[in-house]
Amino acid sequence: MIDHEADLTRRLRAAAATIEVPWTPLRRHHSGPGRLAAVGSVAVVLVVALLLGRGLANLRATTTPATSAPTTSASIAQRSDLALVPWPDGARDGWVSPDGQFLVARLGEGLGLYRVNRADTGIVLTRIARRGLALFGSGRWLDDSSGFIFDGRSASPGTTATLDLAVLERGGTVTPLATGVLIYSAQFSHLAPDGRSIAIASPCCPQRVQIVPRAGGTPRGVVEGAPTAWDDRGRLIAYNFRDIIAVASASAPGYRITVPLPPDDPGSVVSVQSAAPDHSAFVVQTGRGSGPQMMRVLVDGRLLDVPEGGLPLQWIGAHELLLYRSGDGRFSAFDPLSGKVRTLGATLPEGGTWWGTNGKYLAWGLRGLHITDVETGETRHLDLPAGDAGFALGVTAPGTFVVTMRDGLRFVDAPALFAQPAPLGQLRDRPTVQPINVPADLTLPPSCRYVRYVDTLSLFRWELDCGEGRNDPATLAAVLQNAGWVRCVDPPTSAFAKGGRELLVEGAERPQEPLVLTERLSGTSCR
C-alpha cells in the first residue's frame, strides 16, 4: 500500500515503467536568442491592442514596464565602463577570459582571439589571431585564463558523439589535448591548481577520470568515475556513484568517503555536484539514473538534507552554501558544519534571468540590468539598450560582469556600483556563523572565522582561520583569558581550563594551515 512515502515512490516508478514511450522526433523550433519570444510578444501586444480598439499610433507610445521592481533601486547614469564594445570582425558572440584580458569571438568561419585593452578613450579590442576551428557548440576559458578550451568536431561512431578536446592558447596557437573524448568535455573539464593538468571524463563505459597534461600528451586514467574539483593540495576529487575519492597528489595522501545512502534507497546512484572551497563538505545528488533525485550535503561522513525548501546554488565563503528558498523568496546561507542558516537580504527576482558571482552579487533583468548585493538586497539599475535579443552575462574577476549583447560587449564593475561594496573575500557577517557546541563564552576576534568542525566520542575540534600569519595560539590567548579561561601550567602547553573544561589551542605549522581548538570531553589533566 502507500502508507509510506517510499512505497509511493516505488509504486509510482513501477507504474511509470510500464508506460511505453513511442519515438517521436524532436520538432524543429527556431532556436536563437529570444527570436520566438520577441515575435510572440509583438504578436500578443498587437492582438490585444487591436481587440481593445487601439491604433498603431497608440502602440508606438506604449512603454514596456520593467521587470519586477527591486525593493531598493537606484538608477545610475551611464558610466564609461558601460560603453559598448562592438563585436570585432563581424562576430556574433564570444567569451571573455576570467581575468578580463582576452576575448574569444565566434566568427563566421571559426574563432578570433583578441586582447582587451583598457585605454583612456575606452575599451579597445586588438586581434591576436583568427583560426578556422570547428567548434562543437561551446567552449570556455580555463580558470587561470591561460587558454580557451573547446570541443572540436570529431567522428560519431555508433550513437555516441565523441569530440576532440583542444586549447586555443593566448598567443593564438592551438594545443590538442585529447581525441575521442566524452561529449561536452570542455564545459566539464577541471584545471589543476598548478595549471599543469586538466581532469576530464572518458567516454562511457565504464567512465573513467582521465588526467591530461595541460601542454598536451597522452591522457592517463586515474580512477573510475567522474571529476568534481581539485583541492588546494593538488588532489583531484572524483566520484564513482558511491564513493568520493581524493586522488593522492605529491604533497597529500588520498582518501575515500563512502557516501552513507539512506537505508531505504540502497540502489541509489550518487553524483557530486560541487565541493566546498575548503573541501569540508560536498553537495551530493542521490537518486536513480533517470528517476527521482535529491540534493544533500555530505559533511563529516554524514549525509544532511538541505534546509527545508532550499535549492543549493553555490558555495560562498569557505563552506557556506547559498540557498534559494521559494517560501519567502529570499536567499539564505547554510553552513553545514554548524547547521546554521542565515537569511540574506536579497530576494530572487521574478521573471528575470540571474547569475551570482561568488555569492556576492546577483545580476538580473530582461530589458534593463539590475545588480543586487546578495547580502543586503541593495540593488542598482543600469539602462541597457537590449533590443529584442536580450543579453547574456558572464563574469570576470574581480566582480565584473560582462554583458554580451547582439551588438557587442559591455563591462560592468559591480563593486563600484555600491557605496559599501560587499567584500569579495567573504560575506559581511561571517562571524555570526557559529559551529555547534562552541564554548558559549568564546567570542572570536573579528579576523577569525570557523572553517571546520569535527566531533568524536572524546573531543570536539574546531579549525579556525585568523588570516595568514595569525593562526598561532597567541591570537586566541587574550580572548580566552578575557572570558575567564586560565592557562594551564602543567602540562606546559597552550591549554586553558575553566570549570572542569579544557581547551587546547594548537597553532598552524604552515601559513596556510588553520588554528585548531580542541575541547577534551573526558576530564581534564590541567593544573
Binding site: E5, S326, T353
Partner: protein, 153 residues
C-alpha cells in the same frame, strides 16, 4: 552553426525524452504527454545560450514540462468542473490502479505527487514549479496521498 545546435538538442532530447514523457503521462495522460514534452523543448530552445547558462538541462526540462502540464491540467479541469455541473456523476471511485487514481487528483496534488515521488524533486523545487510557498508543499502532498489511498483501497 545550426547543425551543431541541432546535434546538442538531439542529444539532450534522446537522453531525457523517456523520463519526461512518462512524467507527463502521469500528469496529463498519454494523449497529451507528447505535446507537453515538445512544448518543454520548444521553451528550452527559445532560451538564449541554453547550454551555456543552464547547469542542469534535465532538471530545467522537468520543471518546465511540469509547468506546461499544469497549464493544460487547469484548462481541462475547468472543463471537467463544467461537465460535472452539467452531468453529475459519482467521483468517489474505488479500487483504481495508481495511474488512474493519480489522474483523478486535483491538478496541484497530481503535480506535487508526480514531482516528488516520480521525479524526486525537493520541496523547494516543487514549490517553484507550482508557484506556491514551500510551506504549502507538505500539506498538498499529504492531501494527495490521502486521496490516493482512498481511491486505490
Amino acid at each position: 552553426m545550426e547543425e551543431e545546435l541541432d546535434e546538442r538538442w538531439e542529444h539532450l532530447y534522446r537522453a531525457s525524452r523517456d523520463e519526461l514523457f512518462r512524467g507527463a503521462c502521469l500528469l496529463v495522460g498519454v494523449h497529451d504527454a507528447e505535446e507537453v514534452v515538445q512544448e518543454a523543448f520548444e521553451r528550452a530552445m527559445r532560451e538564449r545560450d541554453f547550454f551555456d547558462r543552464v547547469a542542469n538541462p534535465g532538471g530545467w526540462l522537468r520543471v518546465v514540462a511540469a509547468r506546461c502540464a499544469l497549464s493544460r491540467l487547469r484548462r481541462e479541469q475547468r472543463w471537467e468542473r463544467l461537465q460535472q455541473f452539467l452531468h453529475p456523476r459519482d467521483l468517489a471511485e474505488r479500487n483504481l490502479d495508481l495511474r488512474s487514481a493519480l489522474l483523478r487528483l486535483p491538478a496541484n496534488q497530481r503535480m506535487a505527487i508526480t514531482l516528488r515521488y516520480y521525479h524526486g524533486l525537493d520541496y523547494g523545487e516543487i514549490a517553484s514549479a507550482l508557484r506556491v510557498e514551500a510551506a504549502s508543499v507538505g500539506p498538498i502532498l499529504t492531501r494527495g496521498r490521502a486521496a490516493l489511498r482512498e481511491m486505490i483501497r
